[in-house]
């Protein structure tokens, strides 16, 4: 019986020829991503236990992003703990403010993600990196402490579900709409504990940025990981971004690999989607919700804060005025500079948007755009739980950058296709 790409990567990480779903393994970790909320507790645990060491100073990537720049005294203290630790252990890839960005946008951009590797991070959207044919999953702080100290972690090998993306996307429809359609079908726990493997012709036309939007949201279907196979698009991105270590191993699923389920999607039929509050699985076509009044539009985050997303938003906002508070948050300093150099900031400024420094900020209701009671936000982020972006009585509507920009102009949920 054949193996899936996920099983092959995990088998390599445990030094075995084969692993099977359900098997408990102790896997070698290639990269540990660390940010400012969940890593400081891990550091404290290690210090308390007297095992204050790092397994490899070159395999840990540190980027304060959630409450960066520090939003209050307590977050400043978190940053201080992270900073002291990173310096003490001489962490090679420590991105300080000015170079730090939203983790899941920063790591691939800075060349830390390689196919065939095992990447973990104390952040649920660590599954993003699966877009690069890698196994990557979110863990907790204790896990992170263990991974940082030992470079090993326990896993249950996940069974895989296959998602076949057929057809091609119509105008005004993006990978965000595809992943919202996928989650609307399977539900927020439809892929619980599983690896979501995405295949199919619709992926061919998608950039790595667009693919990352899909794997980013695997966790919103409850999955352990999301993964997309290697192709020319992957190779080109890696050729442009990998820096110090440029070798990697490409694995692919065998034709007789086992899947728990196979779901087929006709992407040509997918329309711009909006996930209604309060679950990411609340996706409906824009036609069913257009006209709903909004108070804020948020364009940013690890899901859709990349340069391609900002270009799409700018394409719609050009020469227009926004009717509601509109926040543009480039996910990393490189994206910020690119957007500025390409003249996108001028477009956003003319349209009446506010442009922020790279941060997670309001995506998790932290700062820089928190919602008041009763307010509604159309957001390019990945989660619309109760209270996610502010007051427990506020509402978040998840959408693509195009839909968010179109809605910003109209002040209500709007179909981006009428702006093309």
């Amino acid at each position: 019986m054949g193996m899936t790409i996920t099983e092959k990567i995990l088998a390599k990480a445990v030094g075995k020829a084969k692993v099977v779903p359900g098997q408990l393994v102790d896997a070698k970790i290639d990269i540990v991503m660390c940010h400012d909320i969940t890593t400081p507790p891990a550091i404290s645990m290690l210090e308390e236990k007297g095992i204050d060491k790092v397994f490899d100073r070159e395999k840990i990537v540190v980027t304060p992003d959630h409450f960066q720049p520090a939003k209050d005294i307590k977050s400043a203290e978190l940053h201080k703990r992270l900073d002291g630790w990173a310096k003490r252990h001489n962490i090679k890839y420590y991105y300080k403010i000015g170079r730090a960005g939203v983790c899941h946008a920063l790591l691939p951009e800075q060349g830390h993600i390689r196919p065939g590797e095992v990447i973990v991070g104390p952040d649920s959207h660590t599954c993003t990196y699966g877009a690069f044919a890698a196994f990557s999953t979110g863990i907790g702080s204790t896990d992170a402490a263990a991974a940082i100290a030992t470079g090993q972690l326990w896993f249950k090998v996940p069974a895989s579900m296959k998602f076949v993306l057929n057809g091609s996307l119509g105008p005004g429809v993006y990978s965000k709409d595809v992943v919202l359609a996928v989650i609307a079908r399977v539900g927020t726990d439809g892929a619980r504990y599983k690896a979501m493997e995405f295949v199919g012709p619709a992926l061919k036309d998608m950039s790595m940025e667009a693919r990352m939007t899909i794997t980013n949201m695997a966790i919103e279907a409850g999955a352990k990981s999301g993964i997309i196979g290697f192709d020319d698009v992957t190779k080109q991105y890696l050729d442009e971004h990998l820096k110090d270590k440029t070798d990697y191993t490409v694995y692919e699923s065998d034709s007789d690999a086992q899947y728990d389920a196979v779901e087929e999607f006709d992407c040509s039929a997918i329309e711009p989607m909006v996930a209604l509050p309060h679950l990411p699985s609340g996706g409906v076509p824009i036609g069913e919700c257009a006209g709903k009044e909004m108070d804020q539009a948020y364009i940013g985050s690890c899901t859709n804060g990349r340069i391609e997303d900002l270009r799409i938003a700018a394409g719609i906002l050009k020469g227009k005025q926004v009717a509601i508070r509109t926040l543009i948050v480039p996910a990393t300093p490189v994206i910020w500079k690119q957007a500025k150099d390409e003249g996108l900031f001028d477009i956003f400024y003319e349209a009446g948007c506010v442009i922020s420094a790279p941060t997670c900020g309001a995506c998790l209701g932290g700062f820089m755009g928190v919602l008041a009671a009763g307010e509604k936000c159309v957001s390019t982020t990945n989660r619309n739980f109760v209270g996610r972006m502010g007051h427990p009585e506020s509402e978040v509507y998840l959408a693509s950058p195009a839909t968010a920009a179109a809605s910003a102009v109209e002040g209500k949920l709007a179909d981006p296709r009428s702006f093309l």
Partner: protein, 162 residues
């Protein structure tokens, strides 16, 4: 005697268990003061040491914040009984040495305020108020090993010094 706090809901998520506005600290006692705040404002006033939380499917879905486990444990809750748990919450509980119980029936057989007693070894939840026993599958051995050691880090330390 342990009281059950029952939430007849699926997908109780980490933002409800401990909202992100409190993530600027990892102090357990402080997190405990906001435990379940966006789900049930009154919970922190009602909960007593040793009480249990009972809920539906996919408890703890959402973010990887271990703060969710710390807030619950900090509120001196003995265990969470749910139909199922989200993956990272499940990991975090085990890694913290916090025993959680997966039970398909508990939600139907326990009412809010019922008094319960749990026999972890036998895999039994005794609902004293309704006089019924609800069985559950104890956690797998590897998880028990971690829990018995007091958590993942203690487990690793023990393993490397053994």
């Amino acid at each position: 005697m342990a009281k059950a706090h029952v939430y007849k809901r699926d997908h109780i998520n980490t933002d409800e268990i401990i909202p992100a506005r409190y993530l600027n600290t990892d102090d357990q006692a402080e997190l405990a003061r906001h435990c379940l705040e966006d789900l049930d404002k009154d919970f922190v006033n009602k909960v007593k040491e040793g009480d249990v939380i009972v809920a539906g499917e996919d408890f703890g879905c959402g973010s990887s914040r271990e703060h969710a486990v710390w807030a619950i444990r900090g509120a001196k809750v003995q265990t969470v009984i749910a139909k199922s748990f989200a993956r990272i919450f499940y990991r975090n509980a085990i890694n913290n040495g916090f025993y959680i119980i997966e039970s398909p029936d508990a939600l139907e057989k326990i009412n809010d305020g019922d008094e319960v007693e749990i026999d972890y070894k036998a895999g039994l939840i005794k609902n004293k108020t309704a006089s019924i026993d609800i069985s559950f599958n104890p956690l797998p051995d590897f998880a028990l090993e971690i829990i018995n050691d007091g958590g993942l880090l203690e487990h690793i330390t023990k393993r490397t010094t053994d």
